[in-house]
Amino acid sequence: MKILKEYKYDFTEIIHGYNNRSLKINLSDMKIESKQISEEMKQKFVGGKGFGLRYLWDAVTPETKWNSPENEIVISSGPVGGITQYPGSGKSIVVTLTPLNDTPMDSNVGGHFGPLLKFSGWDALELQGKADKEVIVYIDGNEGIIKIMESNIETIDSHILSEELTEMFAKDETDKRNYSIVSTGSAARYSNVAMLNFTFYDVKRKKVRLKQAGRGGIGRVFNDKGIKALVIKYEGVKSDLNNPANISKINRAGIRFHKEMNRYDDEQNGMRKIGTANIVEVMNDYDLLPTHNFKFGSHKDIAKIESKVFIEKYITQNIYDGCWHGCSMSCAKAADDFKIKTGPYAGHKVIVDGPEYENAAALGSNIGVFCPETILELNFYCDTYGIDTISFGTMVAFAMECYENKVFTKEDTGLDLSFGNIDSALELIHQIADGRGFGKIVGMGIKFMKKYFIENFDADPKFMFDIGMEQKGLEFSEYMPKESLAQQGGYGLTNKGPQHDEAWLIFMDMVNNQIPTFEDKAEALHYFPMFRTWFGLVGLCKLPWNDVTPHSNKYSKEPAKMPEHVQNYVDIYNGVTGKNVKIDDMIEESERVYNFQRIFNIRMGYGKRTNDKIPYRSMGPVTIEEYLSREDRYDKQLKEIVGYNLTNKSTEEKMAVLREYRESQYEKLTDAVYKRRGWSKDGVPTIEKLKELGMDLPELVDIVSRHL
C-alpha cells in the first residue's frame, strides 16, 4: 500500500497509568501531532470518555455536524486500562458527534485496541478531517512509527476485513495476538446506526474476534472520514506496563475477585457459560423482556430462545472468552462454525460473537422472532455489516408495528413486516447494508423514520411519537421501563439517550421496592449514573462490578451498590495512579465529566428538559391491547393510587387517566433528579454546581449563563 504519510515518535515511560500525551491525526492535511496532556486535564477529565469529550469540545463549534471535517472520533482507554490483574480492564471509549442528532456520543468497547494504543505511547487518539482516498492508519507501538496508507483493499465487511488485515500485517501466527483492528462494514456507507468493530486475536480459536462500539452511528462517521481501518501493533503486553504506583494493591483485589468468580459464577449468573444472555428468561419472567416493540414484557415462546438453548446448541463451552487479558468473567462468548443461510455469506461457516442479552432481545423478542438461528444470523450480519444490534432491533420493531397498524403496506415497501417475519427481518438487514429499498429508510434510525412516515405515508404524528422508541435520536436499549418510574429516568434523564449504561434500576425499583419516593429515586439516579460513568473514565468494563456477588454483600447496608467490589475499584485505581481517593472522590470525578457532557449537549442544542422527554410507550400502555394485557395491574394502580373510580369506565377512559398520571410522575421525577444533580428546573447545571465541582471553566459558565 502506498504510504501517504509517515511519522516517527520516541517513547516515554508510562507513569502511573498515563503516557501524558495523546496522538492527533488530521486526515484532510495528513498532519500527525503529539499533544501533551496537562495535570489539569487529568484532574478534571481523568481519561477515556473524559478525554474524548474534552478533545471533541475543542475541535467543534455549535454549528459542526457529524460529517463536518472538524468532527472528531476520539478513542481513549483510561489510566486503569490495560492492567491484567483485575477483570474487565481492556475497555476504551469512543466519542464523536453522532449522525443521529449531531451531539456528542460515547460508546464503550472491548477488544485490544485501547490498551495497545496506550502501551504504544498514547493516552488518546484523535481522528479529524477527511481523507481524499480511503486510508488505513497503522500504528506500530514497538517501532514508534505511524503510517497513513492508501488502502488498496476492496473488502468492506468487518469479519473478513479484520482477518485480512491481521494476516497482512502480522509476520506469523504468533505475531497475530499483538494486533488489533478497528473497522466498520457495508452499512456505514448509508446507515446512521453504523458502528465500529474492535478486534482481538483469539489464540485458542486462531480467529479474529469482534467487539463493538455499538451505539450512536460512530461507524458512519468513520466511513465518512475515509478510514478503511485502524491497525495497531504492540508486542510485549505484561501486567506492570502501566507502571502502577502500588502493584500489590491491584494484585490483591484481582486475586479476591478471581476466587469469587470460581466459587460463585456457576451458581449465580453463569457468565462464563453464556455471558449476559443468562438473563433472557429472567427478563421474561419479570415481564421486562421487550416484545413486539416494547408492547409486552414476555412471550409464550420464550423457551425457544432462552439461554439454555444457546448454551446447549450453539455457544462453544469450556473455552476462555475474555475480551482482554486476565478477565476471569470471560463473558465474550461465541458460536463457532455457525452456518449462514442468507445474503452474501450464505453457506459460509462463521464465528458469531454473541449473542449478548441485548442481541437476543433486540434481534429476537422485540421483533417477534423466537428462532435462535435467526438471532445468530442477524447478530453475525449486524456485526460484519457494522450495524448496532440494539438500534437494528428497536428500529425494525418500530417499522413492524407501523406496518401492522397500516401506516404503510407491502405495496409501499415490498416487504411483509409483520412481527416475527424472519425473511423480512433478514432482507431488511441486507437492504440496510446495501442502502437499497425500504432498508435504506429503516437504517436511518427511528427519528428519521418518524418524520419520513409522517411526510410520506400520512402517519399520525402523535402515534409516531408514542411508539417510536428513541430519544435524542438514539434507539432505546432492550429493557421494558414501563412499570419502573426510576428506569424511565434511567433512560430519559441521560446525556446520550436511552442506553442503560447510565442506570439500571428496574429491580431496585419495581421488584425490590427499595427506592419508593421521588427523593430515593433521584438519589439512585444521581449515584448510579455517576458511578457507572467512572468506568468509562478509567478504562474498565462494568460487568465484573455486579455480575457476580461476593458473599459479604448480603450483610452490607446497600447491597445494590456491591460495596466490596466498589472497594476493589478504589484499590486498583489508587494502586495504579498513586492517588488516595475514596468512593466519594470517584463520584465527583464522574460528576465533572457528566456535567461537562450535559453542557456540551446544551451547546449543541440538545441538552435541556424538553430533550429529556421520553415516548409514552416507555411509560405506559399506548394501545388498548397493551392495557388489556396488564389490565389488573393498571386497574389496581388507578383505583388504589390515583383514586379513580373505575365503574362503567371504558378502557379508553382508563388509559387517558393512567397516561395523565404517569406523565405527571415522570415530570415530578425529573424535578427531583435535576435538583439532586444541582441543575435548574430546565435541566441546566447551575454555576454554583460548577463551582462546587471546580468546573466553572469560562467556556462552560458562558454556555450555562445563557440558559439559566
Binding site: 451458581e267 449465580q268 449468573n269 419472567d285
Partner: protein
C-alpha cells in the same frame, strides 16, 4: 396479611419461602431473603413458613445490564 418488599400481600396458610418465590416467579438466582430482618439461607427456604404479619424482603441483586 404480610408484607413483601413493603407491599401488602394476602396471607396464605403454609406458605413457605420456596412457594412464595415460585408464586412470584422470582427466578433470578442472586437474591437475599430476610424475614423480620433475619436472613434466611437458601437451604431453609423450603422449611421456612411465612406467618401472618411478617415483614418479608426478597431483594434481587441485579443492578446492571
Amino acid at each position: 396479611m404480610f408484607y413483601l418488599n413493603n407491599r401488602e400481600e394476602e396471607f396464605q396458610e403454609k406458605l413457605t419461602v420456596t412457594k412464595l418465590i415460585e408464586l412470584k416467579k422470582y427466578t433470578y438466582k442472586k437474591k437475599i431473603v430476610k424475614i423480620n430482618d433475619e436472613f434466611i439461607n437458601p437451604d431453609e427456604y423450603s422449611t421456612t413458613f411465612i406467618e401472618d404479619g411478617d415483614d418479608v424482603k426478597i431483594l434481587h441483586l441485579l443492578a446492571g445490564g
